[in-house]
């Protein structure tokens, strides 16, 4: 599997002038042992994100986006889950090889994650102020009082009303969106080099969402952070992302700079996704949806995992796994930063 | 054990440490179990004392003389002795003490020892506040009138309840005196009783008789649930100078300490026996009762269960009562006799399969031998023995119930060395003390053995002045109750063992009450 060609794009300079991406995931495989068999949740994911850059990860629900993120953070449920193959390079070091104590030091100040499910991700028995302040107390040795002041400040930043009076409330006393914002605040607390945001704004209304995304963007600019944004909201993606990776069945099936993807998807799955977005003129009609069921990760279909659902599937799709390869213009010029794992990517691209 | 030479060779001083359980009282007014009595007797000296082998030893009494009818006793008291607070010990102080015990307000558990003194009833029921039968003729003469003839009354006076008390004693419920009695004994207390912790005695240097050698005696109060184990461990770790041992540990302890001369033993005035409910089937006939006695192999139980450290009994009265003791008076006790047992069972209508309740009180270490006896009764007579263990109070209630049948384990130790002290309470009709209303046996004769002939023999014996003749009557009575009628089934005698720190002290012996002879112990 060759990937170098697509991930090789101009890295932006980080403060200290560090070369290369903040994070690079190479050929990551994650599997879960279950009673029915081994669930191959991630099957060779490659992506990278540089400082100041936003990578949006889109994809089928259940395609392994969160699992990849968890693998990066080192919080997979293991057993039953384990990284069976691959490397995760963070600022050049393969963190899978680091001892746990080293890895711990990265979490928080260097990399942070916003969890998908905010309620279960917040400890129910500690006040949100405590959980936020903990970041400062543990990592910066701040006093209780200062940490609390910081927590309030953070809560205000993510637009939680009456932050001062609610800092001592417990997670269950907040609405879904507020919890999500608290998770966001927690991730932002130490201004890490990399934030993995797993569907950070699903529970937010659009105004707050806009504010929060603006905040993320500001911070990103200010501190030159790398951001991995896992989301289903193509609107948000369009707003903030620099490049997009589309996942399907544990694999990246397409990768592209933001504008290009919307215009010309090079994978039938991406096409299907874009077509599924509700549009005004469709009111009263059925929405388009990709037919069929998502693959069972216990026994992924042979060949291209998407083949049973692909309207353009050919025989080769059922036998051969398509690699993520660069996409070219009709004239053969390679499109920078673009790749697709489809045997017929060119046909798809050029319609 | 123990040599005969008195404390002459020993030196004075030293602290003697031993363990007791929390006594009910240490004031003679209510001191009742051996733990209370050991302290009361150290603090008070009465007219007489009893030697380990049941002999009367004069203390403050210079003489004690009965009248010819045995109803009046006159005691001459040694002059010039004092209580530790300086009050004189005179006849008056005895009258005071005895009256204090018997007064209604004291509700003393031990006042019954004085029940035969004239005027007891009135005093005890509160009708009078004087003890009519007692007169302090002069400072050194005490006259005691009895309501019935009793030529052995003098032996009773060795009990601590007959102690003199000073004026400060006040009434029986005087708390200050109860906790720190002021006596005339070889020892005194300089600090009150630390309940559940300790009692400390110091030598009374003004003692009017032979002074004690020990400077101090420390009685640590141990809990009754584990007392003997704690004493034993305390001895092993050098914290006690005198200790009991749990029965199962005896053999090992003996093997270790006997060679070092730290082991003493003694036969005591007590008996372990089976109470047999005489008035209810199946034991309402002597034959059935004899069958039981014959069926028991005392020898085997003593060997197997008690590791040979008890002695089978063949009489009801203890051997220490030399003048009345008759070994083998209970013929059925001498040896297990299966054939006889069956024969008597047949005669007595005790068929195999008969249900026999066998009661005992739990948690007191009786479980083992009781099972052994039960097994023998099953094996020999085919009885269906139902072991019925109960906590003490419930056990007692069952025994008192008129309807109860079967067997009951019981034990008795003497208060003073008289045959009467065994036979009247345990075998006489008055000893039953049946409450007419409820039919409850309120006395100690809960087996309800009752034979008018036996009762008469006791009364006669008590009123017999001549020692030999009296002894003969008691012997006759015992034979009637224990052999002919088999009113009770003697099992084994009371034998006691102690560890003593003979490396440091000499003359540690057990007295009549199985307590250390504090007044005689001296440093080596």
């Amino acid at each position: 599997m060759t990937t170098s060609s697509i991930t090789a794009e101009v890295p932006r300079q980080r403060g200290e002038g560090a070369e290369g991406p903040v994070l690079e995931v190479r050929d990551l495989h994650v599997e879960f042992k279950t009673r029915e068999g081994v669930v191959k949740a991630v099957n060779g994911v490659n992506y990278s994100v540089s400082s100041g850059e936003t990578l949006a990860v889109l994809g089928e629900s259940g395609s392994g986006k969160s699992v990849t993120a968890q693998a990066i953070m080192g919080i997979l449920d293991s057993p039953p889950g384990r990284v069976s193959k691959g490397e995760i390079l963070f600022q050049g070091r393969d963190i899978l090889q680091l001892p746990e104590s080293e890895r711990r030091k990265l979490r928080g100040p260097k990399m942070a994650m916003i969890f998908q499910d905010a309620l279960s991700a917040l400890n129910p028995v500690f006040s949100v102020g405590n959980q936020l302040g903990e970041m400062f107390r543990v990592h910066q040795g701040m006093s209780k009082k200062d940490a609390k002041a910081k927590s309030i400040e953070l809560m205000e930043r993510v637009k939680i009303p009456a932050a001062r009076s609610r800092v001592n409330d417990y997670p269950h006393q907040f609405s879904g969106g507020m919890r999500q914002r608290i998770m966001i605040a927690m991730a932002l607390a130490l201004e890490p080099d990399l934030i993995i945001a797993d569907e950070p704004t699903t529970a937010l209304d659009v105004t707050v969402q806009a504010q929060v995304m603006d905040l993320l963007a500001d911070l990103q600019r200010e501190y030159n952070m790398g951001l991995i944004l896992i989301t289903h909201d193509l609107g948000v993606v369009a707003d903030v992302a620099d490049k997009i990776a589309v996942m399907y069945a544990g694999r990246i099936v397409e990768q592209a700079p933001i504008h290009e993807l919307y215009k010309r998807p090079a994978h039938p799955y991406t096409r299907g996704l874009l077509d599924s977005i509700p549009r005004l003129d469709q009111k009263g009609q059925e929405l388009y949806a990709i037919k069929g069921l998502p693959p069972n990760l216990l026994k992924t279909p042979s060949g291209c995992a998407f083949n049973p659902r692909c309207p353009k599937a050919q025989d080769i799709c059922r036998t051969e796994v398509p690699a993520l390869l660069p996409v070219t213009e009709r004239d053969g010029t390679e499109l920078a930063g673009r790749g697709s794992a489809c045997h017929f990517r060119e046909e798809q691209l050029h319609g | 054990g123990g040599g005969d030479n008195k404390a002459d060779g020993g030196s004075a001083g030293g602290t003697f440490r031993f363990g007791i359980t929390e006594p009910t009282a240490i004031d003679p007014v209510n001191a009742q179990e051996s733990e209370g009595i050991v302290i009361a007797r150290a603090l008070f000296t009465g007219l007489y004392d009893t030697s380990t082998d049941g002999k009367l030893i004069p203390k403050l009494a210079e003489s004690g003389t009965p009248s010819d009818d045995g109803k009046t006793w006159t005691f001459k008291i040694k002059a010039g002795t004092k209580f530790t607070n300086g009050e004189p010990v005179d006849a008056e102080s005895f009258v005071r003490g005895w009256t204090r015990v018997s007064a209604k307000a004291s509700a003393s558990d031990v006042s019954y020892h004085m029940a035969d003194i004239a005027g007891y009833e009135d005093l005890h029921s509160g009708k009078s506040d004087k003890f009519a039968g007692l007169t302090a003729v002069d400072a050194t003469t005490l006259k005691v009138e009895l309501s019935i003839p009793d030529f052995e009354f003098v032996k009773k006076t060795a009990h601590s309840v007959f102690s003199p008390v000073p004026k400060v004693a006040g009434a029986g419920d005087n708390k200050a005196f109860n906790d720190q009695p002021i006596g005339n004994g070889a020892f005194k207390m300089t600090s009150p009783w630390q309940h559940n912790t300790s009692i400390t005695l110091v030598r009374n240097d003004d003692y009017g008789l032979q002074k004690a050698h020990l400077a101090k005696v420390e009685a640590k109060i141990l809990n009754p649930a584990n007392g003997s184990t704690l004493e034993y461990q305390g001895f092993q770790s050098g914290q006690f100078d005198y200790a009991r041992m749990p029965t199962p540990q005896l053999t090992a302890a003996k093997a270790k300490y006997d060679p070092q001369g730290e082991w003493i033993s003694g036969d005591f005035s007590g008996i372990n026996y089976l109470n047999i409910f005489n008035q209810n089937a199946p034991f309402n006939n002597a034959d059935a009762r004899k069958a039981i006695s014959y069926a028991i192999d005392r020898e085997a139980i003593v060997k197997g269960v008690f590791q040979g450290l008890q002695k089978p009994a063949s009489a009801f009265l203890p051997p220490s009562f030399a003048d009345v003791y008759q070994a083998g008076v209970c013929t059925s006790c001498v040896k297990q006799d299966v054939a006889k047992a069956k024969e008597y069972a047949e005669k007595g209508g005790l068929k195999p399969g008969t249900v026999v309740n066998f009661g005992y009180n739990t948690g007191a270490g009786h479980e083992e031998w009781v099972q052994a006896v039960a097994q023998q009764l099953k094996d020999v007579l085919g009885l269906d023995v139902k072991l019925d263990g109960k906590p003490f109070k419930e056990a007692l209630a069952t025994q008192q119930d008129k309807a109860t049948s079967g067997l009951w384990r019981q034990a008795w130790t003497a208060d003073y060395p008289t045959a009467d002290n065994f036979m009247t309470p345990l075998l006489s009709t008055t000893g039953i003390g049946e409450d007419p209303a409820t039919g409850k046996a309120q006395g100690d004769n809960r087996g309800r053995y009752s034979n008018p002939e036996f009762d008469k023999l006791l009364v006669t014996a008590k009123a017999t002045k001549d020692d030999a003749a009296r002894a003969a009557l008691y012997k006759q009575a015992e034979k009637l109750a224990v052999d002919t009628d088999q009113g009770v089934i003697p099992l084994w005698q009371r034998t006691q063992y102690r560890l003593v720190n003979s490396k440091k002290f000499k003359d540690i012996k057990m007295d009549f009450y199985e307590d250390p002879t504090l007044a005689e112990i001296s440093l080596k």
Binding site: P124 | T24, A107, H195, Q442
Partner: protein, 307 residues
């Protein structure tokens, strides 16, 4: 919340009422006369028995006896015991102090050993350490406290005289009995801790805590512990109450003059005033402890609503 506490304390009165009524009835149905005999096998003089019955009002009908008890209790008077005839409060007071000393030491040992062992067992589930702890905890239950106590006593009092046989009032004399007393509950605490912790260890918020880069010890002792400790706290509350009720066997072995022995003896002697005194105390202890535990729930887990 203030009202909640007051209400619960009010319930204490009801519980006290309930417990003592039941107790009175039980004592009443027990065969045997509480003042009918002496310590040994000897029966008491019927005249004395009658005197005592009168003195303690034992001839009154049960409701009258109960009424008198309540009247006296209201004045803080628990009456006089039947053997030594001393005020029950005076007899029990030093015993309560002794028992409390022992109970507090024991509960501290419980907490330290129990929580640590449970933590280790849960963290390293099915490892050598877990199995070892399981083995040790089962031994703590399999070998009864008299065995453990007597072995300890033999070893550390008789053979190696490190500790006094009889309490000398120092901390030293507390250690062995407290340990003997604690070991069973510590084992149970460990098992409870292990059971509940396993549940919590996999929770999402634990992942969050790890992802925050918290040190392992913070993750465990703060995030995991707090969420798994409620049953443990419950049990500790019960255990502490039970400890305060005294422990017969340990007290017997180490000659600890505490409530447990006093109660058993009192029951055997039907020394009712002592029994009633101990039980009344026990009721107060349990109601208070369970109240504290319930209040602790609200502190430990804010989702719990008290009402």
């Amino acid at each position: 919340m203030g009202r909640y506490v007051i209400r619960r304390l009010g319930q204490m009165v009801v519980v006290l009422f309930g417990a003592t009524v039941v107790l009175f009835c039980c004592l009443f149905v027990l065969p045997g006369d509480p003042v009918g005999s002496l310590g040994g096998d000897k029966a008491r003089d019927p005249a004395v028995v009658e005197q005592l019955r009168e003195r303690y009002g034992l001839n009154d009908p049960l409701p009258v006896q109960y009424g008198n008890f309540v009247k006296n209790l209201a004045q803080g008077d628990l009456g006089e015991d039947f053997t030594q005839r001393r005020p029950v409060t005076e007899i029990l007071q030093p015993k309560l102090v002794n028992t409390a000393e022992l109970a507090i030491t024991a509960i501290v040992i419980d907490i330290v050993i129990g929580l640590l062992a449970g933590l280790v067992a849960a963290l390293f589930r099915y490892s050598f350490w877990d199995v070892l702890i399981t083995l040790l905890t089962t031994m703590a239950v399999g070998f009864p406290s008299f065995v453990i106590g007597m072995v300890l006593q033999k070893a550390f009092v008789v053979e190696l005289p490190w500790f006094p046989l009889i309490s000398d009032g120092t901390v030293n004399s507390l250690i062995l009995p407290a340990f003997t007393l604690a070991i069973l509950d510590a084992a149970l605490v460990a098992r409870l801790m292990r059971g509940t912790m396993l549940e919590v260890l996999r929770a999402d918020y634990v992942k969050t805590a790890i992802a925050k880069g918290l040190p392992r010890r913070t993750v465990l002792f703060k995030h995991v512990m707090r969420n798994s400790i409620i049953p443990v706290v419950t049990y500790l509350g019960i255990s502490f109450g039970t400890l305060l009720g005294g422990a017969l066997i340990t007290e017997a072995i180490f000659n600890w003059d505490g409530i447990g022995l006093a109660l058993v003896q009192a029951v055997q002697q039907q020394n009712n005033p002592i029994i009633i005194g101990v039980v009344s105390f026990g009721v107060a202890v349990f109601v208070l402890l369970n109240l504290i535990v319930d209040l602790l729930y609200a502190v430990l887990d804010p989702r719990i609503r008290l009402a």
